[in-house]
Amino acid sequence: MAEQAAAQTAEQPGKKPILPVFKLEPKPHLVGVKCSACGAVFLDTKRLACSKCGATGPFQEVQLSDKGKVWVFSVIHQSFPGVKTPYVTAIIDLPEGVSVKSNLVDVDPLELQKNPGKAFGMPVELVANVVAKDRQGNEVVAFQFRPSAN
């Protein structure tokens, strides 16, 4: 549905997700595919086979939770040109049993370096942030995570 909507509005610049697993409608969320044989969930839109058990499907598309918990992180001080540093990159565990990598925003990177334990298990929620404008003038939207109450 989201792809059809994007195709219909291709003439006019709008918002586009940074990766196919990120859907902006009806509200920003990540999708995954679940192996019907073993239950493994992959952060992906389609798969030929399951890399956990080898089954060739069927795979069920699942909407992933917008809340998760930080497993580990790093504070990046040196990056590609144009990337503002320092920033926090983190591995977020989602309740569906899949993990996601993204920026952890609305935290003080240097404070986390002093107290890394504060990040472990930290509850976070997905936030959709515009990170760039593409050649067609579309706003590119990335999924990132910020601390949440639970």
Binding site: Q78, S79, K84, K101, K133, Q144
Partner: protein, 387 residues
């Protein structure tokens, strides 16, 4: 499978050689190894060449165009940081299988002052690049997180990681093949700029250029060519890829494939970690070295911090035990990607055979050496060499 021996080794000092080509660097290492082996290029029956950044450019054949075009089968190998060690393994298998009696492996790379590795993506429009926007796929981030994971599980401290860097830099002062040969203090390491927490500058390996080569032979050819000289036997040659684990597709799991490779290597050689005299392991970052102490069973799970505090990993001359990366490791010796795997094997061979080239840092009574490499993506090789 037949016994396979390392008849000759060659390595050039890792560093920066902007005025030389990749085939020239490889050819230099090849000629040293051939001379050390006491054979001619015409004696070599098969050649596996490891190189990453010119993987589409027939580096192996171009090396032979410098040292001797004998028409032998050449395979060009690419396997991330495990490229050189995978090439060595191909040359090993070619002899072990009985197909050939004399083979050559070379690892060679020219990186210059290339910066951060990995990451990127986004296709043709940089607006869709994910790096720094949906986390980081750069190597410093991956290995920073691997270190933070150990901190989370076991309370490992920054000082533990930093001590590894101090240790390996100290080791490098005895290795003329090392790109850097300077000491650093704990304060230097801890106060250096952070690249990706918890790794500071001196806890990250440099980029650079280099080459290393080995000549492998069957037992018959050993008798013919070695003429009583002490030569190392390949007691185990193991290659693994990353099995499915929960977070591997998000945060590359550098642990599980190393543990499996180590277990297989110990079983194959019929030895245990206590029997290993020295280890050259893949310390692309200080955090990597720490987790591999446990992955290679040099200490128990969760004990890497204690291992370091008690002198684990240090050269016996410095009062240490279970010496790790007496060459200076990737942190000091350098990490020209394709060359690293063969260079690690050279170092281990030199210690177990008492080679002149390791004299200044010889591990006393070295009988068995382990060479471990990880290529992210992932590939892990472990070679055990013994006399």
């Amino acid at each position: 499978m037949r016994n396979v021996y390392v008849l000759g080794t060659g390595m050039i000092r890792f560093g920066r050689y902007p005025d030389k080509s990749v085939p020239e660097l490889g050819a230099e290492a090849a000629l040293i190894a051939l001379k050390d082996a006491g054979v001619m290029i015409k004696d070599v029956e098969m050649f596996a060449c490891g190189n990453l950044y010119q993987a589409n450019a027939m580096v192996g054949q171009r090396i032979l165009q410098q040292v001797g075009q004998t028409g032998i089968p050449v395979i060009n190998v690419s396997n991330a940081c495990a490229t050189g060690s995978t090439a060595f393994r191909e040359a090993y298998l070619a002899v072990a299988s009985g197909m050939y009696d004399v083979t050559m492996a070379i690892g060679v790379e020219q990186m210059g002052k290339q910066g951060l590795l990995g990451g990127g993506g986004g296709g043709s429009d940089p607006a869709y690049s994910t790096e720094g926007r949906v986390g980081s796929g750069l190597m410093p981030a991956v290995f920073g997180q691997a270190g933070v994971e150990h901190m989370r599980k076991y309370g490992t401290t920054l000082e533990h990681f930093a001590k590894i860097s101090v240790k390996s830099h100290k080791h490098a002062t005895k290795n003329p093949f090392s790109q850097y040969q300077n000491e650093v203090t704990l304060e230097d390491v801890l106060n250096a700029r952070v690249v990706a927490f918890p790794n500071t500058l001196y806890m990250c390996c440099p980029t650079g250029d280099g080459a290393a080569a080995a000549i492998l032979v069957s037992e018959d050819k050993l008798k013919q060519f070695a003429a009583g000289r002490k030569r190392a036997r390949v007691a185990a040659s193991v290659l693994t890829s990353d099995p499915y684990t929960d977070r591997d597709l998000t945060l590359p799991d550098v642990n599980t494939l190393t543990r499996r490779a180590a277990q297989k290597a110990y079983e194959t050689a019929g030895i245990g970690p206590k029997d290993v005299s020295l280890t050259e392991l893949h310390d692309c970052f200080a955090t990597a070295e720490l987790v591999h102490y446990e992955n290679l069973a040099l200490c128990g799970d969760g004990e890497a911090g204690k291992f370091i505090d008690e002198g684990g990993g240090k050269h016996p001359d410095l009062g240490g035990k279970s010496p790790v990366n007496v060459s200076g490791g990737l942190l000091s010796k350098g990490h020209p990607l394709g060359a690293t795997g063969v260079a690690n094997i050279c170092e281990v061979v030199w210690h177990v055979t008492g080679d002149e080239r390791a004299k200044a840092r010889q591990v006393p009574n070295a009988k068995v050496g382990m060479a471990h490499v990880i290529g992210l993506g992932s590939a892990c090789t472990i070679h055990l060499l013994t006399v």
